[in-house]
């Protein structure tokens, strides 16, 4: 049975699709298209009507489409070490012109299908059809895909186009690039970098600027050791906003439009508030949605925070969730027995594998750190500087623990599943101490597993399943203990 998708989810998907489509269209029309880090103040770019793409969102999408490995390897072939963040590697390979493409025969211009791809063919009763010759399930030809190969747009563009055959070949090769939106984003004309999440971002964007010989507009947010953001730190970021505005004026040849900026701020605040409202639905027990849904909806907060449509779509989703509460339904496809916080970025190439043991054990993710992390709410430009100072990896351990323990309490979690993400040193770097604090302060068990946000080679499914199993057993024991105590 096809999954029913709620109006809110459809609206959220459309917002992101539109952001990508608008950027492609802008490029076609010869307008500037930029690439931006996810927590760069998008309000500034919105004030100049700039079309902006988000490499982190793009890389997550590429990884989820199973092309993370080929792109990571392409970056490694360019000299980037495989220890570097998987998002950065995917993005740098893309910036260098590398693309995941469908393999085809250059003579016949027909795709070469990978016999290993595709889903089993089912008969009219839904039964898997067995091939009598091999004794194995037959593949549904509609779901079979060509082999994936690496291509390079610069190589393609350098191809001759004098004869008809050459033209046909060149066009086919262009079209053979995988057709999903993240593999078709326009090359950047400028980059917007805010390193509040990590310093890797600084080097990543410098590399893009160098590869493409384009301007880099930088907002530097140094790491903060206290829960409060000192006025001197705010002043430093505030001055950079003015600097960035000046650079954007130079880039676009336009004056800074205060009205557009204020509108973008208004939308960004509304998006943040509605995002938080949606996240708060996970406080209901049982929850009206799967926490994994939030991972998908993050795309909107990243790519369209400053747009009215994003704020509206989250509002719509909140209405869907309200309806779920009334109907006693949930997007979670199994009964919720345990509730956990998922710590870290998900392993995008392995989402089904992440979900499988959780489903098998009735575990719903009811808390994710992204909830508070993207809830930038502010009233003026100084507060905006202060808000951008507080990204997940730019805050001290006390603030980080406080955020997490807050959502763990509010969303009533029974345990914490910690992703030690090979791609993210700043995030994983104090997780061990955080785990100790969660157990001490909340009395909940924690389990850690090794993975990666984009490179599937760094995820070990067997280890993950064992750790989830261990966590479930500990949660079970905790529950039994509590029930005994209640008697």
């Amino acid at each position: 049975m096809a999954k029913t998708v709620s109006p809110g989810v459809l609206a959220l998907r459309k917002v992101v699709d539109d952001v990508y489509a608008d950027a492609r269209e802008a490029k076609k029309q010869g307008k500037l298209v930029g690439w931006s880090s996810s927590k760069f103040p998008c309000e500034l770019a919105e004030a100049f009507d700039l079309n902006v793409m988000y490499p982190e969102n793009q890389a997550a999408g590429i990884a989820a489409q199973r092309d993370g490995e080929i792109m990571c390897k392409a970056a490694e072939d360019l000299g980037f070490d495989n220890d570097i963040c998987g998002y950065a590697r995917i993005s740098l390979a893309y910036a260098a012109g590398k693309r995941a493409a469908r393999k085809f025969d250059p003579e016949t211009l027909e795709y070469i299908i990978d016999p290993k791809s595709g889903k089993p063919l089912k008969d009219e009763n839904g039964k898997v059809v067995i091939d009598p010759e091999t004794g194995k399930p037959k593949k549904d030809p509609k779901t079979m895909q060509p082999y994936t190969v690496l291509d390079d747009i610069h190589e393609i563009e350098a191809l001759p186009e004098t004869t008809e055959k050459e033209i046909a070949y060149k066009n086919f090769r262009r079209e053979a690039i995988k057709p999903y939106k993240q593999m078709r984003i326009p090359q950047p004309d400028f980059v917007l970098c805010c390193n509040n999440i990590c310093n890797c971002m600084t080097k990543w964007y410098e590399n893009i600027a160098r590869m493409c010989n384009i301007p880099l507009i930088m907002i530097d947010i140094p790491y903060n050791n206290t829960v409060e953001v000192a006025d001197t730190n705010v002043a430093y970021v505030r001055a950079q906003f003015d600097n960035a505005i000046h650079q954007l004026e130079k880039l676009t040849g336009k004056k800074f439009d205060e009205k557009k900026f204020e509108d973008a701020c208004k939308h960004a605040n509304r998006t943040a508030q509605n995002w938080l409202k949606v996240c708060d639905y996970l406080q209901y027990k049982p929850a009206p949605m799967s926490g994994f849904d939030l991972f998908n909806h993050m795309a909107d907060v990243v790519t369209a925070r400053g747009k009215e449509a994003a704020a509206d779509a989250f509002d719509l989703l909140a209405q869907d969730l309200e309806q779920n509460i009334k109907n006693g339904t949930s997007t979670l496809p199994f009964p919720e027995q345990y509730r956990v916080m998922f710590e870290g970025i998900p392993c995008w190439p392995k989402l089904p594998n992440l979900f499988k043991p959780l489903k098998a054990n009735g575990v719903n993710v009811t808390a994710v750190v992204y909830a508070p992390a993207f809830g930038f709410v502010y009233n003026n430009i100084d507060e905006m500087a202060r808000a951008y100072y507080k990204a997940p990896n730019s805050v001290c351990i006390e603030q980080g623990v406080d955020w997490r323990e807050g959502i763990c309490r509010d969303n009533k979690v029974d345990g914490v599943l910690v992703h030690y993400n090979r791609s993210c040193k700043p995030w994983s770097g104090y997780m061990a101490e955080m785990q100790r604090r969660f157990t001490r302060d909340l009395g909940v068990p924690c389990a850690g597993f090794d993975g990666d946000q984009a490179d599937p080679r760094n995820f070990n499914e067997a280890q993950y399943e064992t750790r989830v199993q261990g966590l479930v057993e500990a949660m079970e024991a905790n529950k039994a203990k509590k029930e005994d105590e209640a008697k």
């Binding site: 410098e206 301007p215 880099l216 001055a239 090979r422 040193k425 994983s428």
Partner: protein, 378 residues
């Protein structure tokens, strides 16, 4: 004092920083541990205390630090934490924890948590916008915080005069090291790779004024010697750190001399002086602003390959035939800048090799083969 005796003294310090620390404590001095990178040690000096660098260890193994840290972090940071946990640095009176890279950011928290109630940890965040007025102001603001914390530990106020005096001492130490690097290349028959490293490493552990004076003496002795009639090869070294005597012995065994370096623990740390005039705090901020061609730092002209070209030129100017890059495992900034360093080196016709290193390496067989093979093609 003879060159040989001086070199032995430096080697002794480089090899046994713990003994040096104990010596300071026996003299009743307060000592501040200084983690990488760019911490203004002048402030420590001006507070009447001794700064000692913490650059991990070539002898320790990570064990207790595993309680705080996953495996995929640079061993310099992990071993620094190990030495804080295992008691090696119990005699310190405080540490300064800069946060310029993604490992040092969370590690600053681990240091503070692990040392709570035991050792003051002074947090330091440098700005990546170093040169505009708002960047300079931010550096001053951060340094003012470090100053206040150091004053609490020392019980002594840091005055403009004491800070200016400290700047003079550090400038002298830096100038002596820059001079030494040149002399070490000219007299590479005497200053082998192992000895060169010991002298530069000792700078992190000795009282700066004492070090500067001793190094000036050594430099004067070296200047008297006839230039080496070197028949071996010369290279430039690059990386975060390469101070393991066993690793450097491979250079000496293969008649490879170090003509110059682009190493964070060596030349990158003493390329830039602070002004001895004007407001001394601003002079320190300006000194940080003047740091350049460093992969740890943001380059406002990032669409150019300034650092890569700078290093390639350094190789050419130094008379070296190639470059040996010691790639510190899990060091993002170095790894991120490698493709463009390679590009600049290739464009300049400078051969290079990249050797993966970490401080827990004990077997250098592979490195030896690679260095030997590299020397053969130079």
């Amino acid at each position: 004092m003879s060159t040989e005796v001086l070199l032995k003294e430096f080697a002794e310090v480089a090899e046994h920083p713990h003994r040096v620390l104990t010596g300071y404590k026996n003299e009743g001095k307060k000592v501040i541990g200084v983690l990488p990178y760019f911490a203004p040690v002048e402030l420590v000096l001006a507070a009447g205390m001794v700064p000692m660098g913490i650059w991990g260890s070539n002898k320790k193994t990570i064990s207790m630090a595993k309680e705080y840290c996953a495996t995929f972090y640079c061993t310099i940071a992990q071993l620094a934490l190990e030495m804080l946990l295992d008691g090696t640095m119990d005699q310190l009176d405080g540490i300064i924890t800069p946060t310029i890279c993604d490992t040092l950011r969370p590690m600053s928290q681990n240091f503070r948590v692990a040392m709570e109630g035991k050792l003051p940890c002074i947090f330091l965040a440098h700005p990546q916008y170093r040169r505009p007025s708002f960047g300079l102001q931010f550096t001053v603001d951060q340094y003012m915080h470090v100053k206040a914390e150091l004053e609490k530990i020392s019980g002594t106020a840091i005055t403009d005069d004491s800070l200016r005096e400290a700047i003079k001492v550090m400038n002298r130490s830096r100038a002596a090291r820059r001079n030494f690097v040149k002399l070490a290349s000219e007299h590479c028959d005497v200053i082998t790779a192992v000895k060169r490293s010991a002298v530069l490493r000792a700078a992190w552990f000795m009282e700066p004024a004492v070090f500067a004076e001793k190094l000036e003496t050594l430099n004067a002795e070296l200047a008297k010697l006839p230039a080496a009639n070197w028949t071996g090869k010369k290279v430039v070294t690059s990386g975060i750190i390469c101070d393991n005597p066993k690793l450097l012995q491979i250079f000496d065994d293969n008649h490879i001399a170090i003509a110059a370096d682009d190493v964070a623990q060596e030349s990158r740390s003493f390329r830039v002086d602070a002004s001895e005039e004007g407001d001394p705090m601003m002079a320190l901020a300006q000194q940080f602003a003047d740091q350049d061609y460093d992969d740890l730092l943001y380059d406002e002209e990032s669409n150019k390959n300034r650092r890569g070209e700078f290093v390639a030129k350094l190789v050419k100017d130094s008379g070296a035939q190639g470059l040996v890059l010691f790639m510190q495992q899990f060091c993002d900034p170095e790894e991120m800048e490698y493709p463009y360093l390679k590009k600049a080196l290739d464009a300049a016709g400078v051969p290079h090799i990249k050797l993966g290193v970490d401080q827990q390496m004990r077997d250098f067989g592979q490195a030896s083969t690679a260095i030997q093979a590299f020397a053969d093609v130079l």
